[in-house]
Symmetry: C2
Subunit: 346 residues, 2 copies
């Protein structure tokens, strides 16, 4: 019977050793499943583990062995469903590998990011997965992280020689644009995002390239900038219809912006999927259940999270692996928000 003994002191490896008359070293070997120990001894020690309710002290082990089983994950904001999904993927993969996730969030502030990095580094993580805050300085990050901890940059470019996992933003926007072109649209806007963010820049490039391939020049007045939030996007929807002719469709910076645009359209008596076509980017869970369901570019953030975790674990096992830049593929998910141009507008 495991006794819920309210003992004052924690049980250590020495207690186990004393308890069954072997040395600490032997107990340690059992702990790590070494084939060296005799089957009998192993059984006795393991019984003692249960009897005394031993819990392994990983910090002590790490101190001696110099390795660590924690990985730091730093995102801007967990309440962003895209990052939440990503974090869930990271945690899932790390847990599967027997590692634990150290969480940090920056709230898009480069200053806080530096503090969070410093704080997490004190726990000597095996690696760091960082989605850089806007405006972060690659050199500052590199200086803070140092040469001992592998770093994987996710989602945004960061100046410097970093391991990178990014989305194929350019190709995704291209897919979205081509989809609208194939439906018959000719007057297409690019809606939302901040021009100075690398992901927005890349998506705009893909958009412009797809239009160019179809022999269409992007209309500067239809490249509308907004904060990447629903609310801001809803407010700015009017900018699309400032002049005549107005666009009949929009490629949006991301799903949040697209959902905001849907609201903004509704407020102006239009409805996406009926008299205006909207395409998002990310395929966050809400995209499938908005009204109408949003056509978007699927990035599978959970799978990206798992991928990031595997990458950082591989690098922490073998520090000689060179930093690589991975561009994860994306795919078009067609739902109902993208319609053909209505006749009276075409």
């Amino acid at each position: 019977m495991p006794q819920a003994d309210a003992s004052p002191r924690k049980v250590t490896l020495s207690d186990i050793a004393d308890g069954c008359g072997v040395s600490r070293a032997t107990v340690s070997l059992v702990l790590r499943g070494s084939p060296l120990v005799n089957a009998d001894t192993r059984a006795r020690v393991q019984a003692e583990f249960r009897k005394q309710g031993y819990v392994y002290n990983r910090a002590a082990a790490n101190l001696r062995s110099g390795t660590s089983s924690a990985v730091a994950l730093i995102v801007n904001d967990l309440s962003n469903p895209y990052f939440a999904e990503f974090a869930a993927g990271v945690d899932e993969a790390l847990a599967g590998a027997g590692c634990v996730t150290l969480l940090g969030s920056t709230g898009e502030s480069a200053e806080r990011q530096d503090q969070v990095l410093a704080s997490l580094l004190e726990h000597a993580p095996a690696g760091i997965i960082l989605s850089p805050a806007e405006g972060s300085d690659g050199a500052a990050v590199a200086r803070r992280v140092g040469v001992h901890t592998p770093l994987l940059v996710f989602n945004r470019e960061l100046a410097g020689d970093f391991d990178l996992l990014a989305l194929d933003n350019r190709h995704g926007a291209q897919l979205a644009t081509e989809h609208l072109l194939a439906l018959g649209h000719r007057r297409i806007a690019f809606f939302g995002g901040h021009r100075d963010s690398s992901s927005c820049r890349q998506r705009r490039e893909g958009f412009v390239a797809a239009l160019a391939d179809a022999g269409i020049a992007a209309e500067p007045g239809w490249m509308v900038e907004t904060a990447p939030t629903r609310l801001e996007a809803a407010r700015q929807a009017g900018a699309l219809f400032a002049r005549d002719p107005a666009p009949t469709a929009a490629v949006c910076y991301n799903d949040a912006v697209a959902l905001g645009l849907q609201l903004g359209l509704a407020a102006r008596g239009r409805q996406s999927g009926r008299d205006f076509a909207v395409v998002g980017f990310d395929d966050i869970p809400e995209a499938a259940v908005s009204s109408p369901p949003l056509t978007t570019i699927g990035t599978d953030p959970r799978a990206r999270g798992r991928q990031a975790a595997y990458r950082i674990l591989a690098r922490s096992r073998d520090a000689t692996i060179a930093a690589t830049r991975t561009i994860a593929p994306v795919r078009l998910v067609v739902r109902e928000s993208s319609c053909k141009p209505s006749k009276d507008l075409a």
Copy 2:
């Protein structure tokens, strides 16, 4: 100039001591801001910190001092926006207190929860915040956690003498129901959730009580059970209209279910806020931007997260604090999904 020296070994406190000709003990005192050390010495040591690029090794310090600055947070699923918000709140408060968040997720499996608890305990956290997986056994949790680590149970009841932070589910459902009654509804359903979850049970109780106060008996056929997901809820929407007369309004188990119900209604040619009133529970971010925006019960998960963090920190500083049960208040957030009963249905 901070030199980005690619030194092979990590800088330790001894290196600093050697570097400026004092003992390790003195350096340690500087590190902890002790008033004992001479201002001159302190300055010299701090200069050396910067020069050598020292990073504190918290694991080593914890080993000796027996304390830890990490707090474990275990939730079912980060991709649930309610938990994501909660986690963001926890992390925010912990970071403010100089602590770090250890993340774990159970995916609603009691078995995985036990594994995750075991894994996180090996890092000797200062405390654990646990949102128990469905069907978890309080005794098993208590046995696993032991007496050395303060535990705060969040969101769900767990049999046993635990520190608890829960929502006022009963009162929230009562508010929702009273709101619909005040609008003139008399035929009101309770939609979604699993009967065996404690939160669903409490919400149902509040619902039934509010109806009873108005002299109305709850109709068993209108207590519809579903998994607490959008998809499942959308599928089950038809169950409300199986018989005549049908309800004119529904109190939903949570927002996810309410959003699903809105979709299910639309698929049947009805629209919430026009010919059927819907009230949710939680006030997740999507609630404000669904169509129409959802009337719901605000629980402020981010504030709950901060509250949980403060509670567990207080307990870890003073273990003699008795376990307490806190029921956090909730409030009604009226939006557009709750309308008066339409005349032809009333």
